[in-house]
């Protein structure tokens, strides 16, 4: 189980990466943390001719509080996100999700940008980015552009990133007071990819829920923002009783179309998503200080 041969290029800066793209086009593959790419290479499921290692590009690392947003460089390791005070304070949803991401040795090496760019349908980071309304920064030789996370994810491992672009940063807006998040994931074992999960974020004022975003992962081909279900939740009225959450099941069944896989049929995953939706909303409201009645 050894990779196909490839040429290895260590890029010291983004310019060198773009040059490799220019020279080799689709045959060049960016190597970030490698925690998803390396297994694929070892199993010979992919055969890039050139591997462009971006791990030494310092400008892609770091977590910064910048005005109304938190900027996280693409090469920032999962561990750094997990341990970040800035993230804990300003992006509690991300902090809540991070312990679900793999295990210590993988978090030490795997990167936020790698996870966001790969777009694994069962991964936590894309769902959180969509739930938090993050903006992703893409850079190419031609310049920089930004894409809203919810527009970035297009299909199964399909994103808005063009082959000549590198995802360099994720920018998470800092929510004002009244916004709360909740993260619910079911995995077969600690640290496994989700069977089903939901990242929820919304505003609660005087016990009224608004601006709710429910993002499901492990369900469809990519992190899926369920707008109708969120509207149904908001419209459910006060108090948010278990009956209100029960009513959401129909909305979710209408809106979400989970893919069957080894861990569950469509029906099973939908049932799990319904369960997790209720739990996420209860947790979100509980954090807002509102009692869940019933």
């Amino acid at each position: 189980m050894k990779p196909y041969p490839f040429k290895y290029v260590r890029a010291e800066g983004l310019a060198a990466v773009f040059q490799q793209f220019e020279e080799h086009g689709d045959d060049a593959q960016v190597l970030a943390g490698g925690q998803s790419l390396m297994p694929v290479l070892n199993m010979r499921l992919s055969a890039p001719r050139v591997l462009v290692d971006i791990n030494r590009i310092e400008e892609l690392r770091g977590i910064a509080l910048d005005g109304g947003e938190v900027r996280i460089g693409a090469l920032t390791r999962h561990r750094e996100v997990l341990e970040s005070e800035v993230v804990r304070t300003h992006l509690p949803l991300l902090a809540e999700a991070m312990p679900h991401v793999a295990h210590v040795a993988v978090r030490n090496r795997g990167t936020l940008g790698g996870s966001l760019a790969l777009a694994d349908p069962a991964a936590e980071m894309p769902a959180c980015a969509v739930a938090l309304g993050a903006t992703l920064v893409l850079r190419s030789a031609a310049g920089e552009r930004t894409v809203a996370a919810e527009d970035f994810y297009q299909g199964l491992y399909e994103t808005e990133r063009r082959p000549d672009e590198v995802l360099t940063e994720a920018r998470y807006p800092i929510a004002g007071p009244g916004y709360h998040g909740a993260f619910q994931e079911f995995a077969r074992r600690q640290g496994d990819f989700a069977v089903v999960g939901v990242a929820a974020r919304g505003r609660v004022e005087s016990g009224v829920l608004s601006e709710l975003r429910l993002v499901y992962f492990g369900c469809e081909g990519h992190a899926r923002l369920a707008r109708q279900t969120a509207l149904a939740a908001e419209a459910g009225g006060r108090p948010y009783t278990p009956q209100v959450f029960a009513a959401l099941k129909d909305a979710l069944a209408e809106e979400l179309d989970p893919m069957e896989n080894m861990h569950g049929s469509r029906a099973t995953k939908l049932h799990m998503a319904q369960t997790l939706t209720g739990r996420a909303l209860q947790a979100l409201l509980a954090r807002a200080g509102g009692a869940v009645h019933g």
Binding site: M1, M262, S265
Partner: protein, 795 residues
């Protein structure tokens, strides 16, 4: 493997009797410092690497193979096909004298005309590096003619099923039946009949160290030296000699440190024997290490049973009869040389044996299918027998509203009934069933647990308690393979020798893959001889250096290996005392050995250091009387003959919570009470139970080799095949009941399979206890969320 067994600290050794002491294994010191030496750690001069081209199809004819381009690839030394290897290597031909009806067909080590499962090796590439061999393997061009495959065992037995082996005319390898007592009468008389249809998924052993072999053929002496990650080096040496055409003494198999085995490394594998053949073709060392992906499709699998069973019970709670009908899929071939049928035999012969009913009927149909071979993995069929029995028992108690603890106690074979022959035909020296249940009630406050469960149910928390009695056969006699005319030894052999320093070396055929058998044997030697455990080194795992033994299987290490070590040590002690008596001018009977000294048998006064005797016996024989010849090397063999097998038993309890919203199971507590007879080392015995229980928990909740109908394994990676990890497993509470077997002096009965044998029924009973109030009922393992949600009727 060699390792000095002994204590790392002085507090644990009782010099007078090390048996029963929790002595740490000295060999762990090597393992924790990176000094373990596994087969893949070794390299030899001119060593090359083999990679196998494997069938991507479950069933396909090989129309042509073109090796030309592969042979020209960088680093490649040789590319061979099945036909070329067949010239130096005989195919496996399974035969079992006890089952003359077993339908078999020869298995070539590399497929010659057709492949019969996804993963079967069809060609081999040898290159300077593993990576280059993999590169070239992709250049071997094979034209395939796909054949219809049959994956499901029931489907394989259907009249119009595609045949795995055309020449056999059927996929039914064997059908076994037992019919004892008046089963029809028992069911006619029953007040309650409980009936269930069980499915036990196929799973596999997943040793952390993959299979690995280095074969080194020397044409100048026509000798084959093999290093191999294996449980039975002697048996392998015999297989290699007979299949590759060597005189027996020209083959040496060394098993160094072995990174997990569990039955998975008990058999000859086609690709391993092919590696030996490649070394013969090349005249240089060839290494083959299975990678994880090929491990999943070539390592032995196990289980894979579909059982319909029913139990007849009277209104006051007597089991009246039991009927079991099993379909067991063994994959494409019956495993050589043991055959794959023992899983089925154990279902047939071990179902319901804890209980005193006399009416039993069972049928097991063994089916070929286009899947990886299934066979001997820890527990061998006994988890199936126990799960079927214990689940039916719980169903009966639920139906009758009886206490599952009292019901079991009422129905157990009573202690005065032994020796007992069950209606299955198997006999049992003794089973401490009631004692184990009593002990479980001491270990776990079951009424308190029930109260907690019941009060939480009111809050919508669904917890369940499951108990499961389990029975096992261990340490089998020649009544099994001897009678079957299969070349698998029942004996163990041991050489014990007094070294010139006064220390002791024990060379034994038994092997140790981390169970701690070597330490246990050192304790037996030390106890018998009267020397400190630290003074004994146990050497095993080398077919040339150690006397013949069958190695590790069927929980025989302590029972048979321990007994032969005892017998040999006793003989050596007599010899030592004879020399001491000559020196001290005493009668041998007046002397004894204790803590490395010659002492007076009466009173224990120290007379002489053992080291001094050793020195005289090796270097200064001149001071001995002329007729005294020191015999400081002693060999003994031990074959268990008194009983066909030993009988272990125990009981397990699971306490868990089912999340009905997700179908998830959280195991909260797990307890095991076991009777392995004499406990030589409780630290190691309990560790065996825990490790086994966790494998059983894995089979109950996580592990499954998922195949589609075309015979493709869908989860053949460690990311997709789920094994239990630390976070999923609770601490496991353990207690011992000790009933030594009377068939040996040592009295040990074996412990390796206890944990795995009783865990799955305890878990399945607990899950049913939890979901029963929600109207759910489950009879399939692993109990995945999908299956639990289906059982609850919510999806």
């Amino acid at each position: 493997m060699s390792g000095k067994a002994g204590a790392s600290s002085s507090n644990s050794t009782n010099p007078t009797n090390p048996i029963g002491q929790a002595i740490p294994r000295a060999s762990v010191r090597r393992l924790v410092t990176g000094r373990g030496r596994y087969t893949d750690d070794m390299t030899f001069a001119r060593m090359v690497h083999a990679v196998f081209v494997r069938s991507p199809f479950a069933h396909a004819r090989i129309l042509s193979i073109d090796t030309g381009e592969a042979a020209r690839a960088p680093g490649v030394v040789r590319v061979v096909t099945g036909a070329e290897v067949a010239e130096v290597c005989k195919p496996f031909q399974v035969r079992h004298a006890g089952f003359p009806a077993l339908k078999v067909t020869p298995q070539h080590v590399l497929a010659v005309d057709k492949a019969s499962w996804q993963g079967e090796a069809v060609a081999a590439v040898v290159a300077e590096s593993r990576a280059e061999a993999e590169d070239a393997a992709e250049l071997v061009m094979i034209e395939w003619g796909e054949l219809p495959a049959v994956a499901d065992a029931d489907a394989a037995l259907a009249p119009d099923a595609p045949l795995v082996h055309q020449e056999l005319g059927t996929n039914e390898a064997l059908a076994l039946t037992v019919d004892g007592g008046d089963v029809d009468g028992a069911f006619a008389d029953a007040d309650v009949v409980v009936e269930e249809e069980f499915r036990f998924a196929r799973h596999t052993g997943v040793t952390l160290e993959p299979r690995c072999i280095i074969a080194d053929y020397d044409p100048s002496t026509h000798a084959l030296a093999v290093h191999q990650s294996h449980q039975a080096p002697h048996e392998m040496a015999d297989v290699y000699a007979r299949h590759l055409g060597f005189p027996g003494h020209n083959v040496r198999v060394v098993a160094p440190d072995v990174g997990g085995a569990f039955g998975l490394k008990l058999q000859p594998y086609a690709d391993e024997i092919a590696t030996c053949a490649l070394s013969m073709l090349l005249g240089r060392p060839v290494k083959y290490t299975a990678d994880r992906l090929e491990s999943f499709v070539t390592d032995i699998h196990a289980r894979g049973h579909h059982v319909k069973a029913r139990m007849a019970v009277s209104a006051d709670g007597d089991i009246l009869g039991l009927e079991v009908d099993d379909v067991y899929g063994i994959g494409a071939y019956s495993q050589f040389p043991r055959t794959s049928v023992f899983e089925g035999v154990h279902v047939l012969r071990m179902s319901g044996v804890a209980y005193k009913h006399t009416n039993y009927r069972a049928r097991v149909r063994v089916a070929y299918q286009n899947k990886a071979l299934s066979g001997h993995y820890r527990g061998v069929g006994m988890p199936i027998a126990n799960t079927v029995t214990e689940r039916l028992v719980d169903m009966a108690t639920t139906e009758l509203g009886l206490d599952p603890v009292a019901f079991r106690r009422r129905n157990y074979v009573p202690s005065e009934a032994y020796p007992h022959t069950a209606p299955t035909g198997f006999s049992f020296e003794y089973m401490s069933l009631g004692e184990c249940l009593d002990k479980l009630e001491e270990l776990v406050d079951i009424p308190a647990l029930r109260a907690e469960r019941d009060s939480l149910r009111a809050d919508g928390v669904y917890r369940g308690i499951g108990i499961a009695t389990f029975t096992e056969t261990t340490a089998i006699s020649p009544e099994y393979y001897g009678k079957a005319e299969i070349r698998v030894a029942a004996q163990e052999s041991c050489v014990v020798r007094l070294e010139p320093s006064g220390h002791v070396r024990c060379l034994i055929g038994m092997t140790d893959q981390g169970q701690g058998t070597a330490t246990g044997i050192a304790q037996v030697v030390a106890a018998t001889l009267g020397v400190p455990v630290d003074d004994v080194e146990v050497i095993s795992g080398d077919s040339a250096a150690t006397p013949y033994g069958a190695g590790a299987f069927a929980s025989r290490g302590a029972a048979i290996g321990g007994e032969v070590a005892l017998q040999a040590s006793r003989a050596l002690k007599e010899n030592i005392l004879a020399v001491a008596a000559a020196i001290l001018q005493e009668e041998p009977a007046a002397l004894d050995l204790s803590d490395g000294r010659i002492v007076a048998a009466a009173g224990g006064t120290a007379r002489m250091e053992l080291a001094e005797i050793a020195d005289i016996g090796h270097f200064r024989q001149n001071i001995l009387p002329p007729d005294v010849q020191p015999q400081f090397t002693v060999a003994r063999h031990h074959v268990p003959r008194a009983l066909p097998h030993l009988s272990g038993n125990g009981i397990q309890l699971s306490y868990l919570e089912v999340d009905p919203g997700l179908g998830a199971v959280k195991l909260l507590r797990h307890a095991v009470v076991h009777d392995c007879g004499t406990v030589i080392n409780p630290l190691l015995v309990h560790e065996q139970i825990r490790g086994g229980a966790v494998q059983g928990i894995g089979s109950a909740l996580y592990e499954e080799s998922v195949y589609n109908n075309e015979g493709q394994m869908l989860n053949a990676s460690l990311a997709d095949y789920l094994v239990p990890m630390a976070a999923e497993i609770p601490d496991i509470e353990i207690a011992d009941v000790i009933t030594p077997t009377r068939s040996s002096e040592l009295g040990a009965k074996g412990v390796g399979e206890a944990g795995v044998t009783g865990a799955s029924p305890a878990i399945l009973n607990a899950i049913n206890d939890a979901i029963g109030p929600l109207g759910g009922r489950l009879a399939e393992i692993p109990a995945t969320p999908e299956r639990i949600l289906r059982a609850l009727g919510v999806v």
